[in-house]
C-alpha cells in the first residue's frame, strides 16, 4: 500500500484487541479505526482569515453483552494501545469467564458507490483560497446593499477500518468537499442575511461541476430580497415548499421518528404503526445511502454494513424503520445500513443517510396557482424535533406570501411549527420536480453529514411563527 492507502493499524493488533475485548464474556466486539485529515479555510471581511489543517487518528472499541454495551477509545493505534482500550471496553462484561475466543478476520471488498475524481490533498492551497476570493467579489458585485461577506471552504478525507468478532474486516475511503458563503445586506429596515452551500461526497471536482459565483450570487440575492420583507404572518396557513430545500423538514418531521432506537424505547409517535396509513397516499419516503455523490452517501456505514436503499413509507403506508447493528440484533433482524458515528470517539447509533420524498405528478406552478392564500417557502434553515410527540420546528430563511395564487411579497425570517404525523397527512399536492440538499444532522451530541430531498409540495395547514395578524 502506498501513501494513498496508509495502514491504519496492523491486522494482528486488531485481532488481538478483539480477543481481549471478548475475554470477559463479551458476545460481540468491534474495532473501528479512523484516520481523518481535514482542511478548512475561512474568508471574512474581505480577507483570507485563516487556513487550518487537522489530523485525527484513533480507534473506538465496543463490547456487547446481552443488552449492555461497553465502549472505550484511544488515539494509540499500537498493539498495546488497542489492547488497553479493549480491556476498558470489556469492563462492562463484569460477569467474566468468557474464556479464550480468537477471531479470524476475513477481508470484504465492496464496490464503491462513487468515485473520487480529485483528492483535495492533491490541490494546492492557493487554488482553494482563490475560490473564496471569487465568491466574495461576486457577492459584493451583485448588489450595492451587500455590506459583508464571509465564505468557507472545507475538505476532509476519512480512512476507516471496521473489524468485528463475526470475522468482518472492511475498509473505506471517504472524501467530502464543501463550500459555503453568507452575506449581510443593509437597508432602511436594518440588516438581513442570506446563505448558500455546495457540498458533495466527492473531491475537488466539486468546483468543476458547480460555480462558486452562482452560490455567492444566490446568497446575496437572498439577503437583499429580505430588505423589503414584511413580518411573517402568525397562525396556521397553507404552505407550498419549493423542491429540494424542504427535504430536511421531512428528515425532522418523520425521519427521526422512524429510527429504531426511538421506536424500541417508545419514544416515537410512529411506534406500533407498521403497515398502517401514516401519511397522505401521495407520500413515498425513502432513506438511501447509495445516492450518487449526495452529502449522506457512503459505500459502507460506520459498522461496516453496505449502504442500501430503504423504503420507509410507501404510498402513505409505513413499511419500515431504520436499523443499526445493536437494535437489529435486539430485534433478531439485519441492520439496514444506518449505523453511523461522528468519529472513532463515538458509539454508533441509528442515523439517516439521504432521506427524501419521491416526486409526484403535478406542475409546481399549478400548485402555487391553486393556493388562494398562504406561504411559499423557497429556503429552509435548520430544524429540531421531539420524536416522542412528533412536534417539530423549522426556520424559514427565504419565504414569500402567496396571494390569489401568485407569489407576492417577501417575508422576514420566522420559524414554522408542526407535528410530524399531522403534516404527513396534510400533504395535498406533490409536484413532478425534485432536488436534494446537503445538511448536518445532530443527535445525542453527534453530528453526521446527511442529504435530504423532496419535490415541490403543499401542506394544507402549518403554523407560521410570525408576528403579523393574518
Amino acid at each position: 500500500m502506498g501513501d494513498r492507502d496508509p495502514v491504519l493499524a496492523e491486522r494482528d493488533a486488531i485481532e488481538g484487541a478483539l480477543a481481549a475485548a471478548l475475554a470477559r464474556g463479551g458476545e460481540f466486539a468491534e474495532v473501528f479505526v479512523e484516520d481523518r485529515s481535514s482542511t478548512g479555510i475561512s474568508f471574512d471581511d474581505r480577507r483570507v482569515e485563516e487556513l487550518s489543517s487537522g489530523r485525527d487518528r484513533g480507534a473506538g472499541i465496543r463490547v456487547v453483552v446481552g443488552e449492555m454495551t461497553g465502549f472505550a477509545h484511544t488515539a494509540d493505534l499500537s498493539t498495546r494501545g488497542l489492547h488497553n482500550a479493549a480491556e476498558a471496553a470489556a469492563a462492562v462484561a463484569h460477569a467474566g469467564g468468557g474464556g479464550v475466543r480468537s477471531v479470524a478476520l476475513v477481508e470484504r471488498k465492496d464496490d464503491p458507490v462513487g468515485t473520487i475524481g480529485i483528492y483535495p490533498e492533491d490541490i494546492d492551497k492557493a487554488r482553494k483560497v482563490e475560490l473564496l476570493a471569487r465568491a466574495d467579489d461576486e457577492a459584493r458585485a451583485t448588489s450595492g446593499s451587500i455590506v459583508q461577506v464571509s465564505a468557507g471552504y472545507g475538505d476532509s478525507r476519512r480512512l476507516i477500518v471496521i473489524a468485528n468478532s463475526d470475522g468482518l474486516y472492511v475498509a473505506d475511503d471517504q472524501v467530502r468537499t464543501r463550500f459555503a458563503v453568507s452575506c449581510v445586506a443593509s437597508g432602511d429596515g436594518g440588516l438581513q442575511t442570506g446563505y448558500e452551500v455546495l457540498a458533495r461526497t466527492i473531491g475537488f471536482e466539486l468546483f468543476d461541476r458547480f460555480s462558486v459565483e452562482a452560490a455567492a450570487k444566490e446568497a446575496a440575492r437572498r439577503a437583499v430580497g429580505k430588505l423589503t420583507a414584511r413580518p411573517a404572518p402568525s397562525g396556521a396557513y397553507p404552505v407550498v415548499i419549493k423542491g429540494g430545500t424542504g427535504g430536511y423538514l421531512f428528515h425532522e418531521a418523520c425521519g427521526h421518528g422512524l429510527e429504531a432506537d426511538h421506536i424500541m424505547k417508545d419514544a416515537s409517535a410512529f411506534r406500533g404503526r407498521l403497515g398502517t396509513k401514516v401519511a397522505s397516499p401521495l407520500v413515498t419516503l425513502v432513506d438511501d445511502g447509495t445516492v450518487g455523490e449526495s452529502w449522506g452517501t457512503s459505500t459502507i456505514d460506520d459498522e461496516g454494513r453496505p449502504a442500501q436503499r430503504n423504503v420507509l413509507i410507501k404510498n402513505g403506508v409505513l413499511t419500515e424503520y431504520m436499523w443499526d447493528y445493536l437494535r437489529a440484533r435486539q430485534d433478531g433482524r439485519e441492520s439496514s445500513g444506518n449505523g453511523r458515528r461522528q468519529s472513532y470517539q463515538h458509539l454508533p447509533m441509528v442515523r439517516m443517510t439521504n432521506t427524501f420524498l419521491l416526486a409526484g405528478t403535478e406542475d409546481p406552478e399549478e400548485i402555487i396557482n391553486q393556493t388562494p392564500f398562504g406561504v411559499y417557502l423557497a429556503k429552509l434553515g435548520g430544524g429540531q424535533v421531539n420524536t416522542a410527540t412528533g412536534d417539530f420546528v423549522f426556520g424559514m430563511t427565504e419565504a414569500y406570501l402567496i396571494e390569489g395564487g401568485r407569489i407576492t411579497e417577501p417575508l422576514r425570517d420566522a420559524n414554522l411549527i408542526g407535528n410530524g404525523p399531522d403534516v404527513l397527512m396534510k400533504i395535498d399536492a406533490i409536484a413532478d420536480d425534485f432536488d436534494m440538499a446537503p445538511g448536518t444532522c445532530g443527535k445525542d451530541g453527534q453530528s453526521v453529514a446527511v442529504g435530504s430531498g423532496q419535490p415541490t409540495l403543499r401542506v394544507s395547514s402549518v403554523t407560521i411563527g410570525g408576528t403579523a395578524g393574518g
Partner: protein
C-alpha cells in the same frame, strides 16, 4: 498536570525568528453510564488529548492541530500551521495575546474525589436515577435515558510572547429524559443535576424535574394565536442570554454583523436589565482562571440598567476595534482557533421567586422549553421566532398546558419589553445564568 504546560512551552519555543508561536494543549477524561430497564445500557470511558498550534508571521495567521500529544506530530503540525499562514491575507490586527498584567483570580473548580470514584458507584447512580423517574408517577410510560456522566479536563496555553496559563475543572451530572402518557397523549420532560463534585449531585431533583416537566404537559392543547406576556423559565432565559451574547461579540460588531453595531452608549433594554459577563464567579460552569488565549478571566459589565456599555473582545477583535481584550477568547477544543464568546453571563437578579413572578404577571404564557433557537433567532437582523411549550398563566398561577406554538418578536423589542427579572438565580450547564424573566407583548402563534 505540569506536563501539559511544559509541552505547550516547549512547542512555543520552536518558533523561527520573526514568528509568533502559540500552543494550546488539552486533555480530557470522560465517563458516561446510561441506564435502561434496570440495567446498564452502555458504559463509555475515554481519555483524549490534542494540540492546536497557531503561527503568526508577517501579519498572517495559520493553524493546525493533531489529535494526540505526540511531539513528532506536533512538529509536523507546526510546519503545517506555518505553511497555512503563508496563504492568509496580511492583517495588522492579527497577533497572539500579550501578557497584560491582570492577575488571575484563584478558582477551585477541580474535585479530586472524581478521579478515585469507582465505576460501580457511577453505575449505581444511573440505575437509581432511572428507578426514581419510573417510580415518580404512574403516568411515566418510559425513561428514554437516565445518564450519569463526568469529565475531568485540563488545558494549557503557552506562547512565544510569554503567555503561560493552565486551567482545569471537573464536572459530573445526572440527566434523565422521561416520556409520560395518558390514553393517546404523549409528553416528554428532562431533568438534571450538574455540579463539580459527585457528592453534590441531587438525584431527587433530576428525577423529580423530569417527572414534573413531562406530566404537567399532559392534556396540552394548541391555543388560539394571541399577544401575551411571556414568562421564561430559568433554562429558557439561559438559552436566550446565550443567543444575545452572540450580538455582543466585538468581532461581529466590528464586521457589521450585529444588531448592536454603532449602538454603544444607547439605551437598548428596560432599566431593570443589567447584564454582566463574569467567568471569575466559581458558581458558573463556564468559570475558568484564564481564557483560551491565556489572559486572566475578568468581570465585564455589558448592559448596565438598560444601557449598552461594552462588547466582548479577544485579542484580534480588540485590536480591530482599538479596545483591550476582555479575556473572552474561547475555543471549541484543541481543534479550533479562539473566537469571541461569553462564558458566564449573569443578570442582576430581582426580588421575586418564580411563583412571585407568575403572581405579578397574572395572565400570560409560562414557557417551559423552546426549540429552533438556531434557525429562529437571527443575531444580525434581530428577528426572533421559536417553537415553545409551556402552560398558560391564569390568575397568577400555572393553568392549561399548551403545545405546538411559536413565540415571536425581535431581540430589540424583547429587551425593551422586560417587565420582571426574578430572584431565583440558578447556575446551569450553560454560558449563562438561569433566572425567571417576564416579557410583555410577545406574539404567540397557535391555531
Amino acid at each position: 498536570m505540569a506536563e501539559l504546560l511544559e509541552l505547550a512551552q516547549r512547542i512555543a519555543s520552536w518558533g523561527q525568528p520573526g514568528e509568533e508561536v502559540e500552543a494550546f494543549v488539552a486533555w480530557q477524561r470522560e465517563t458516561e453510564v446510561r441506564a435502561y430497564g434496570g440495567e446498564v445500557e452502555s458504559l463509555s470511558s475515554a481519555e483524549s488529548a490534542g494540540i492546536g498550534i497557531r503561527v503568526v508571521a508577517g501579519a498572517r495567521q495559520g493553524f493546525a492541530y493533531v489529535g494526540n500529544l505526540d511531539e513528532a506530530l506536533a512538529r509536523d503540525a507546526l510546519a503545517e500551521a506555518r505553511d497555512n499562514a503563508s496563504f492568509a491575507t496580511p492583517d495588522p490586527n492579527v497577533g497572539l495575546a500579550e501578557p497584560d498584567g491582570v492577575a488571575p483570580v484563584e478558582l477551585e473548580l477541580w474535585d479530586d474525589s472524581l478521579g478515585s470514584m469507582a465505576t460501580e458507584e457511577k453505575i449505581a447512580l444511573a440505575l437509581e436515577l432511572e428507578r426514581r423517574v419510573r417510580a415518580g408517577d404512574a403516568r411515566i410510560r418510559e425513561v428514554v435515558s437516565a445518564d450519569y456522566g463526568d469529565d475531568q479536563s485540563e488545558s494549557a496555553v503557552a506562547s512565544s510572547l510569554g503567555i503561560s496559563a493552565v486551567s482545569r475543572a471537573t464536572t459530573c451530572y445526572l440527566v434523565a429524559y422521561a416520556v409520560a402518557g395518558e390514553e393517546n397523549d404523549t409528553q416528554t420532560g428532562a431533568g438534571y443535576s450538574v455540579c463539580r463534585a459527585p457528592s453534590e449531585l441531587e438525584i431527587e431533583k433530576a428525577a423529580g424535574d423530569a417527572v414534573l416537566r413531562a406530566t404537567r404537559m399532559l392534556g396540552a392543547t394548541k391555543p388560539a394565536s394571541a399577544r401575551v406576556t411571556a414568562v421564561f423559565d430559568r433554562e429558557v432565559t439561559a438559552t436566550l442570554l446565550a443567543v444575545l451574547a452572540g450580538t455582543l461579540s466585538g468581532e461581529e460588531v466590528a464586521k457589521g454583523r450585529s444588531l448592536f453595531a454603532e449602538r454603544l452608549g444607547e439605551r437598548v433594554a428596560a432599566p431593570l436589565f443589567t447584564l454582566v459577563e463574569d467567568p471569575t464567579n466559581p458558581l458558573a460552569f463556564g468559570a475558568s482562571r484564564y481564557d483560551d488565549e491565556g489572559l486572566a478571566s475578568r468581570r465585564v459589565a455589558l448592559i448596565d440598567q438598560g444601557n449598552l456599555v461594552a462588547f466582548l473582545y479577544d485579542t484580534h477583535s480588540a485590536r480591530l476595534a482599538g479596545a483591550r481584550s476582555t479575556a473572552s477568547a474561547v475555543r471549541a477544543g484543541f481543534k479550533s482557533t479562539p473566537g469571541v464568546r461569553a462564558r458566564a453571563l449573569a443578570l442582576v437578579p430581582g426580588e421575586l421567586d418564580q411563583a412571585g413572578v407568575l403572581a405579578a404577571v397574572g395572565e400570560g404564557l409560562f414557557v417551559q422549553g423552546v426549540t429552533g433557537i438556531h434557525s429562529g433567532v437571527n443575531p444580525v437582523s434581530g428577528d426572533f421566532s421559536v417553537g415553545a411549550e409551556g402552560l398558560l398563566i391564569s390568575r397568577g398561577e400555572l393553568a392549561q398546558p399548551v403545545r405546538e406554538i411559536t413565540i415571536a418578536s425581535t431581540i430589540q423589542k424583547l429587551l425593551q419589553g422586560i417587565e420582571v427579572v426574578g430572584g431565583d438565580v440558578e447556575w446551569l450547564p450553560s454560558v449563562a445564568v438561569g433566572v425567571t424573566v417576564a416579557i410583555g407583548d410577545v406574539a404567540m402563534s397557535g391555531s
